[in-house]
């Protein structure tokens, strides 16, 4: 399949699967959300104790295993690491904070838009603004440095983590938490969620689909390739929502969403900036983690800890709005990102 067809197929598949997953039980407009699902997984592992968002999401396991399996088959599985891992951890941490202030990763932002949630349009504007900020620092020579090939065992860690999570999900020992109400309790059957995750993982590994990359490449290199996938997700989720009768246009009373425009904008701006500095959105980081990129594996751990902090310290938004702690955390995120950007620019390195 050509690259063009692959990106279209990935977008179409995600759009359709997201609607199917909602039909079979996932929260509305949350057929797939990388940030929310990593946060739910953090809760199931009791890294946070918010009872409404605790569930080991099989989709996340599927993304990693799908990317792992297909990259082994195509001989693209390549354990690498060493490109500023702790810096990436911090970027991942604050990307998660931004996503949970908005209430969704860039993928869920598109799914929310396709469901008629106009708050997500405000988020999209913020996401675009954050990406423009990221392009600015990239043009100034920002780089987190090279990754190098590492011992093969390192690349197997994230797939092993995914398998361990799958075992914990299926065996369901007492120490694993599971929501009995709220978004964490709403879930499609495990086999369907896992299967959908694996299929998405395979297609996203092949197509390199990236939400941040779609907008970034339009501005940076005038290449619409990745944006096509982004648009296909929107179109097919929109058609699916219309067919299911779940499309509801407006700002008010949208599922798992709030109407605070400023923080919808700023939350996603933080996600856009961080994702551009990382070289990919949370979905892309998860896929890369599956194909042996241990720097993305570390980023995934940053996302996981960000999800835990967001609910342990009252940072995450809810339908009621964004708590003060969350607003402060987003501002701190921008300051931290600015410092990371400044300290990793070429001019700074040349001065050393």
């Amino acid at each position: 399949m050509s690259n063009q067809k692959m990106i279209v197929a990935s977008g179409v598949l995600i759009g359709i699967l997201a609607v199917i997953l909602v039909f079979y039980g996932n929260p509305i407009n949350m057929g797939i959300c990388v940030a929310c699902f990593i946060r739910d997984t953090a809760g199931a592992l009791k890294l946070h104790s918010a009872p409404v968002v605790q569930y080991i999401r099989p989709e996340i396991i599927g993304f990693i295993l799908g990317a792992f399996i297909i990259s082994v088959i195509t001989k693209e599985f390549k354990p690498t690491g060493g490109s500023a891992p702790l810096t990436r951890f911090v970027l991942g941490f604050f990307v998660m904070i931004g996503a949970l202030v908005f209430l969704g990763c860039p993928l869920r932002m598109i799914l929310r838009l396709a469901g008629g949630d106009l708050n997500a349009f405000v988020g999209l504007l913020g996401f675009g603004a954050g990406i423009l900020g990221g392009i600015f620092v990239l043009k100034k020579g920002f780089s987190l440095g090279r990754a190098y090939q590492i011992n093969k065992s390192g690349g197997f860690i994230m797939p092993a983590v995914a398998i361990a999570l799958l075992i914990l999900l299926v065996v369901s020992p007492e120490f694993i938490a599971r929501s009995i109400e709220g978004p964490g309790s709403m879930a499609a059957p495990i086999a369907l969620s896992l299967g959908a995750g694996i299929v998405v993982g395979i297609f996203c590994q092949r197509s390199r689909l990236c939400m941040a990359g779609g907008i970034r490449d339009i501005f940076l290199i005038k290449n619409p390739h990745l944006l096509i996938g982004f648009l296909c997700i929107f179109v097919f989720a929109f058609i699916g929502n219309m067919a299911m009768g779940s499309f509801k246009l407006g700002f008010l009373d949208q599922p798992v969403a709030h109407t605070d425009g400023i923080w919808n904008f700023l939350g996603m701006a933080l996600v856009g900036l961080g994702s551009t500095m990382l070289g990919g959105c949370p979905l892309r980081q998860t896929i890369l983690a599956g194909e042996g990129n241990t720097d993305s594996g570390v980023t995934f751990m940053g996302l996981l800890l960000g999800g835990a902090f967001a609910h342990n310290f009252g940072l995450a938004a809810s339908a009621k709005g964004v708590p003060m702690n969350g607003q402060i955390a987003v501002i701190i995120g921008f300051v931290v990102f600015a410092l990371i950007a400044f300290m990793n620019m070429k001019s700074m390195k040349a001065a050393k």
Partner: protein, 67 residues
Amino acid sequence: MVQIDVRGLSCPEPVLRVSEAMKANLKLEVIADSVTAKENICALGSKNGFGIKISENNGEYTLMLEK
């Protein structure tokens, strides 16, 4: 001819570096170590009218771009 080593760099740095070098050079040799970087640089080269020859050695790609 200019040589550019994009091995181990995150997206979109490989494309950015090659794109920058294309402004001043008609002949480039690029060394990449990921299929993604290889594909993106090929797309960039084709778009800008460069002829491309690719050779692979043990997971590393050498791309000769010439206009």
